[in-house]
């Protein structure tokens, strides 16, 4: 746990960047510091690895004042990812990632092994990327290397200062998803600075909303969205808070069990039903499309009345409900099928179910 106790940072020209912050950042979770530019979020972050020294107050890591540690040891035990990646251009990807292990004088074979593992972890093919140079990487690849470098010596704490700020929106979402996966695996204590509210909601376990050097609200994302403490937080979250809440819930929790038709069997499996449409599966229970049960002639085979569903229209259990809703609006349907990564049909998610969810939230 990282504790801030009455931390203030005042500069020589008497501007106050951080104004008496006291918060506790829980271990093994991802805490986002968010706010408009100049709110003091980056300064707060940089005080943890003592790049900025506070004017007053105390920062404790697991109960110990960070000033009690040797400054170099402290920094080597905290991973650091900065805004513009800051890769060393004159070193290969491998040497960049190996920076801290080398400072810690690890054995060569151990460093080698670690670098290869980390490249794989961040989704870069180890053999071909190890010897590349920063200038040969795309923006997204450089960010991945930046994350791998921060993880190099397996530090318990990682500080990230707008790590995905410099890449295009598409790549950013992809990097966020992959980073969320890595975090689910590693459970690091992460302090993450951003000004992108969607990014915060997507990744955070806890969010601290900052303004003018103070923390206005510090809570789990759901509570910040549902119960903003003041107008600024309310406005900062945007007018689409209801939609944003949906990006915190996953399709898996709202799958409805429905009757299906199997194309390997005849019409009599359907029997008497009030349903107009039914999802159709093959003999391996893989979803292949839907059948208009109401209008189709029972003379024709099920297969000939089938409307196929494209693979990208099928939702996965780890898709967000926001994504499900967006797809429904796009395709003009009221229900979408859910299947696992092998294509096995799991059920459907419907518009009425989503409405139920948002209504219950209000109460």
């Amino acid at each position: 746990m990282i504790s801030f106790a009455g931390i203030t940072k005042r500069y020589d020209d008497s501007t106050v960047a951080v104004d008496g912050i006291s918060i506790e950042i829980p271990s093994n979770q991802l805490t986002v510091l968010i706010g408009p530019s100049g709110c003091g979020k980056t300064t707060t972050l940089k005080m943890i690895n003592r790049i900025v020294e506070p004017t007053a107050g105390q920062i404790l890591i697991d109960g110990q004042d960070i000033r009690d540690f040797d400054i170099k040891d402290l920094r080597r035990s905290i991973g650091y990812v900065i805004q513009n990646v800051g890769l060393f251009p004159h070193m290969t990807v491998k040497d960049n990632i190996a920076t801290v292990p080398k400072l810690l004088k690890w054995e060569r074979s151990r460093i080698e092994e670690r670098v290869m593992y980390l490249l794989g972890l961040v989704g870069l093919e180890p053999e071909s990327y190890a010897r590349k140079l920063p200038k040969e990487l795309s923006g997204g690849e450089a960010q991945r290397v930046g994350v791998a470098r921060a993880l190099a010596a397996d530090p318990p704490i990682i500080l990230m200062d707008e790590p995905f700020g410099a890449v295009d929106p598409l790549t950013r979402v992809k990097l966020q998803d992959e980073f969320a996966r890595v975090q689910r695996e590693l459970h690091k204590t992460i302090v993450f600075v951003t000004h992108d509210i969607d990014e915060a909601i997507r990744l955070a376990d806890r969010i601290a909303v900052m303004r003018s050097g103070r923390i206005l609200q510090y809570d789990i994302p759901e509570n910040i969205l549902s119960f903003p403490v003041e107008k600024f937080v309310h406005d900062f979250m945007g007018s689409d808070r209801a939609l944003k809440r949906l990006s915190r819930v996953y399709v898996a929790d709202y799958i409805e069990d429905v009757k299906v038709v199997s194309i390997s069997q005849g019409w009599n499996q359907v029997g008497e039903t009030k349903e107009e449409f039914m999802w159709a599966i093959d003999k391996d229970e893989k979803l292949i499309g839907w059948v208009d049960v109401f209008h189709s002639s029972r003379e024709a085979s099920i297969e000939s009345t089938l409307t196929e569903v494209a693979r990208e229209e099928i939702l996965q259990p780890d898709s967000t409900v926001k994504e499900a809703l967006s797809r429904m609006l796009e395709s003009g349907t009221v229900a979408l099928p859910v299947a696992d990564s092998t294509g096995k049909f799991l059920g459907q998610i419907s518009l009425s179910k989503i409405q139920e969810l948002t209504r219950s939230d209000k109460e």
Binding site: I51, R75, R76, Q83, G86, P89, T92, V100, L103, R149
Partner: protein, 391 residues
């Protein structure tokens, strides 16, 4: 075999070939004089050696065809052979031509041979530009013709030329002055780096130092070298007269002291400026990443700042070195010695070949220093910092 395309022909190669054809056809390829200082008579290449003329026609054709295939390295290599062949032909025939005119007659290169050398330089330079990403090959293009020419000089092949006769009369002196020239120029660059690099670092670290430092080094660069030598004579001779210790060290108003001081001052601008610029271009993020990962101040310097800044700093040292080789010539005027001695003696006696005995080695030294520094920079530039074409 790569395809021949006319659009592969570049302006540099074309210029080189045109200059080459002019040089082998104009009347004055060599010049013959009855005595060391009498007026010269022009001799055509066709009269010097018909076989040589034919050879150059063939060589020109070969270079033209190669340049159409984009074999830049081989185009440059043959281009470099143009002056070498020019000297070779001259060396073969010089003694015989001189004998035809009289017992004290002298043979010297005339406009034709110099143009031929120039055409070779243009051809090599054009090829080097295209070999930007292969700096080792580019350096080779200069080193090959120079070493072949040196080989001819050392082997005595060119002894029939007037300039070599001047050399033969001053053999010991020539080597002494060459050594002195190198020591003065090298010393100036050494001390210039010793002062200039820290000055650049200081200017980067502190805004207060930056302005006066650059005002000073820029101002120094604007003073003509002769004027600076002159300005130093009075204060230095005063110091030497009033402080015996300095006199014992050999410091006086004339000689190597003012020369060294002036040349060090000149070398400051390129070295200080490049050191400053190289540090300025290292992004703050890169340094902060290093600090954040727990590097010490010394590790930041040795692992990040020095490797990233070195190529640009060395480029400054290269400029300073080439400049120093040239400026040292003027040092002969205040009794510091160096190859300038022959230049000024020759001017005094109206003996052009003596002037050349000083001037040609200076040009050669400048080219050698340039190539050596380029090679050094290429070897010391980390792969990640090598700029690609068009970036």
């Amino acid at each position: 075999m790569r395809p021949l395309r006319l659009r592969n022909l570049d302006m540099m190669t074309l210029t080189g070939l045109v200059v080459m054809s002019i040089s082998i056809s104009i009347p004055g390829f060599l010049s013959v004089r009855e005595t060391r200082i009498s007026a010269g008579l022009p001799v055509k290449l066709l009269d010097v050696s018909p076989a040589g003329f034919l050879f150059f026609v063939l060589l020109g054709t070969a270079i033209f065809s190669l340049s159409l295939t984009r074999h830049s390295f081989y185009t440059g290599l043959l281009g470099g052979l143009v002056p070498v062949a020019g000297f070779f032909v001259t060396g073969l025939r010089a003694t015989a031509i001189a004998a035809e005119v009289g017992p004290f007659s002298r043979v010297s290169p005339a406009a034709g041979l110099w143009l031929l050398v120039f055409s070779g330089y243009v051809l090599v330079f054009g090829a080097r530009k295209k070999l930007k990403d292969r700096r080792e090959l580019a350096a080779l293009l200069v080193l090959v013709p120079i070493s072949l020419t040196l080989l001819m000089l050392v082997s005595g092949h060119l002894n029939g030329l007037s300039i070599m006769k001047e050399f033969a009369n001053r053999r010991t002196r020539f080597f002494e002055e060459t050594a002195r020239h190198l020591i003065i120029a090298g010393g100036a660059v050494f001390f210039g780096s010793l002062i200039g690099i820290p000055l650049g670092i200081l200017a980067k670290r502190s805004n207060r130092v930056e302005k006066p430092v650059f005002a000073f080094v820029n101002f120094m660069q604007t003073i003509p070298s002769v004027a600076l030598f002159g300005l130093l004579i009075a204060p230095l001779s005063y110091l030497s007269r009033s402080i015996p210790f300095l006199r014992q060290l050999g410091i006086s108003g004339i000689g190597w002291t003012p020369a060294m001081i002036a040349l060090v001052l000149y070398s400051l601008l390129p070295i200080t400026r490049n050191t400053y610029a190289s540090l300025k271009t290292i992004p703050h993020d890169t340094i902060e990443a290093g600090i954040g990962m727990g590097m010490s101040r010394l590790q930041i310097l040795s692992k990040i700042e020095i490797p990233m800044a070195l190529p640009v700093v060395l480029a400054g040292v290269r400029t300073a070195a080439i400049q120093a080789v040239g400026n040292t010539t003027m040092a002969a005027l205040i009794g510091a010695g160096g190859l300038g001695v022959f230049v000024f003696q020759g001017l005094g006696q109206a003996a052009m070949d003596l002037v050349l005995l000083g001037a040609l080695p200076i040009v050669a030294l400048a080219l050698i220093v340039d190539s050596f520094m380029q090679l050094l920079i290429a070897l010391l530039t980390p792969r990640g910092l090598v700029m690609e074409e068009g970036k």
